[in-house]
């Protein structure tokens, strides 16, 4: 099992609520990622980080925001949840302060978010 954890695993929340999805890794990895996995199972990158105080938007536009204040922690926040945000969110990390294209990405178990 990889040492990357996401909480909560499942979340059902009402429209308009603010939510934060937690992601933590204990491997000391510099790079962290958030992927959104739609009902058709395809994964799209929505945020990534090279390291502390670094955040970038991914290929899929998202209303969520992220922060990276500590190496091990990469939370994702939705200020006002909507039904269109219903999806599975996967967090991942990989090592390397450089490019390291071939290194493995480790994934968390995901958070399944339902906005009603």
């Amino acid at each position: 099992e990889a040492d990357i954890y996401q909480t909560p695993r499942y979340l059902v929340i009402g429209t308009g609520k603010k939510i934060t999805l937690e992601c933590s890794q204990t491997m000391g990895h510099d790079k962290m990622y958030w992927y959104q996995q739609d009902p058709g199972m395809e994964l799209h990158l929505i945020h990534y980080s090279y390291g502390v105080n670094s955040t970038e938007k991914g290929d899929l536009s998202s209303e969520s925001t992220v922060s990276r204040i500590r190496t091990e922690h990469f939370p994702l926040t939705l200020e006002s949840a909507r039904p269109s945000h219903t999806s599975q969110y996967l967090c991942a990390s990989s090592e390397g302060s450089g490019n390291f294209g071939g290194t493995e990405a480790f994934f968390g178990q995901g958070t399944r978010l339902t906005v009603v």
């Binding site: 990889a2 790079k31 395809e42 996967l90 294209g101 071939g102 290194t103 990405a105 178990q109 995901g110």
Partner: protein, 116 residues
């Protein structure tokens, strides 16, 4: 932009038999890495096998092997002696070898079922 395509939404194999999952990709880059990830139901996504584009030799990991055809931009996964535990979603993924943050680009996924 790079793209990854998995044209088989579902595949089925008899236990102990061999199955091949297809993946094609499009890129203008010469330095890149290819991966197959496995996502069992409600479990973490894990790396199955990886291939460096500069290596001509096909990667193998126990019962898993790839057929990497660089000119055709094809990267299929062969699973030999299929086991019930192989049932999962399988994702083909591409990662640039250049400084693009280590982002993975995923295919649509192939759901593999294994019949006893």
């Amino acid at each position: 932009a790079q793209t990854v395509t998995q044209s088989q939404p579902e595949m089925s194999v008899q236990e102990a038999e061999t199955v091949t999952l297809s993946c094609t990709y499009d890129t203008s880059e010469s330095d890149y890495y290819l991966f197959w990830y496995k996502q069992p139901p409600s479990r973490q996504m894990i790396l199955v096998i990886r291939q460096e584009a500069y290596k001509q030799q096909n990667a193998t990991e126990n019962r898993f092997s790839v057929n990497f055809q660089k000119a055709a931009k094809s990267f299929s996964l062969k699973i030999s002696d299929s086991q019930l535990g192989d049932a999962a979603m399988y994702f083909c993924a591409y990662r640039s070898g250049y400084n693009q943050g280590g982002k993975l680009i995923f295919g649509q996924g192939t759901e593999l079922s294994v019949k006893p």
